[in-house]
Amino acid sequence: MLEQSVVYLFVALVLIGGCMAAFSRQVLYAIIGLGISLLGLAGLFLSLGSPFVAAMQVLIYIGGITVAIVFAMMLSIAMSVRPPDPDVRKSMFAIGCAVVFFFAVAYLIRDTSFPQVASPASEKAWSVGALGHALLTHYNLVFETLSLVLLLAIIGAILIARKEKT
């Protein structure tokens, strides 16, 4: 019961944060909303039985990505600038699209019967060790590719963002 309510709390965090991110005109609030939403998501991951991914979510998304976004915001938006008035038609269109999409997907989910496994995988199989083993054996190529992508991203980001010597 209590556990259920904690999960619902996480869901609420996800959705409230998402709403903040989606509807707030202040970029900073949107970032905070993103942080809250991601935190809730980490909680959901925990409830889905993967503390490691949850921790990684917090470490990289909140500790890294959110902070980086905040940093970029500080460098690119003056604090005193008022956000521009929203374009009502645009927002309406966006909300319309999202609502239609949501209900379409909800309809699909309701109509589909997923072939669920009888019992969820055991805790042991979910351990970090198995994960690491899989990453370095079966998914080795993906892992290496990812590291290469990250390297390139770093180099690219530096190249793009550095000041040109004039």
């Binding site: 209590l2 900073l28 905070i32 942080g35 503390p51 490691f52 921790a55 990684m56 917090v58 470490l59 909140i62 500790g63 890294g64 959110t66 902070v67 980086a68 905040v70 940093f71 500080m74 604090m79 351990s127 970090v128």
Partner: protein
């Protein structure tokens, strides 16, 4: 054998609440004591006497607390109210949440967690957001500049911090703090990983924004950095947070490098705290000994010295482990 205190209770959430209460209490008292210690120590280093109220000046902190609690909580005119209020809590909260993971004794621990190190590294990053919110929410240019610096510094020093922890994980093949401490029954890892310890201490000092890495709150440049506009108990929370972070970092160093509770004759908990406070004294010693770095030197030190050094250390550790 180890016993999770949490599991001694019928209701785990109640246990969690109780744990948090205990930790909060401990951290509060401890912060007061550390402030006293630091003032005394600095006075000693500077050949002064330091606080005088009460026996050995101990009452000075009680009075200061009273002053902070009774002060009016001012909010700057154009501040962003929500952020301004949330920020100190966000800075303080992660420490509280994570302190329960430390194995203080061989038998009784609050909670053993198989990926504790990842969790600690992950959640301790959140306080950066708090600092930033404080700086932005104050609507003050000194605060904002301090926050920007703080964020940059924290991001940069987090990398060598993580890299210096990884060798320990590689040696012990576990991420549970209890198991790591247990693995050091023969000798503490400082003997095999001295460079990692040094990097860890430096990075941790920077993470806690303490001198000589206290650029974000450099008095001479930025008044007081991100908490310039804070007063009363909100300011006090930042203060608490700083000392809590110190304890937290030193406890982590103790578990990872100094063998945790291991030690002859004395009980486990005593050994643990002796090591933690020794490290805290070391960090205080730094503060009053080394001059403050310039900001660009600070960043350069992280990226040019610490990161490569920790990478080399990691590489050597890998090679040695592979060969042995």
């Amino acid at each position: 054998m180890k016993t999770d205190i949490v599991q001694l209770f019928d209701n785990p959430y109640l246990a969690l609440g109780a744990t948090i209460a205990v930790i909060m209490a401990y951290l509060s008292v401890n912060a007061i004591m550390l402030i006293w210690l630091e003032r005394k120590l600095s006075a000693r280093i500077q050949r002064r006497i330091g606080p005088q109220r009460g026996p050995w000046g101990l009452m000075q902190q009680i009075f200061d607390m009273g002053k902070l609690l009774s002060k009016e909580l001012l909010t700057p005119a154009h501040a962003n109210k929500l952020l301004y209020v949330i920020a100190p809590i966000m800075v303080f909260a992660p420490v509280v949440a994570l302190s329960s993971l430390f194995p203080i004794t061989r038998t009784y621990i609050f909670h053993d967690f198989n990926i504790a190190i990842v969790l600690i590294l992950a959640i301790s990053g959140i306080n950066v957001v708090g600092i930033f919110l404080a700086g932005w929410g104050s609507n003050n240019k000194y605060a904002l500049l301090g926050a920007v610096r703080s964020v940059a510094q924290n991001i940069s020093y987090e990398i060598p911090l993580i890299l210096s922890v990884i060798p320990i994980v590689m040696i012990t093949r576990t991420m549970s703090l209890y198991d790591i401490a247990l693995a050091q029954s023969a000798y503490p890892f400082v003997l095999v990983q001295p460079i990692a310890l040094i990097i860890f201490i430096i990075a941790a000092t920077a993470e806690t924004n303490r001198a000589p890495f206290d650029i974000p709150e450099a008095e001479s440049e930025l008044v007081a950095g991100f908490h310039t506009e804070y007063s009363g108990m909100r300011f006090g929370l930042f203060f608490f947070a700083e000392y809590s972070h110190m304890i937290f970092a030193c406890a982590l160093a103790t578990v990872l490098f100094l063998g945790g509770w291991h030690g002859p004759i004395l009980p486990d908990a005593v050994w643990f705290f002796i090591k933690v406070y020794a490290l805290i004294v070391l960090m205080m010693w730094f503060r009053w000994t080394f001059p403050r770095l310039r900001f660009d030197q600070l960043m350069k030190f992280a990226w040019v010295v610490l990161v490569p050094l920790s990478l080399i250390n990691l590489l050597i550790t890998t090679l040695v482990l592979k060969l042995v």
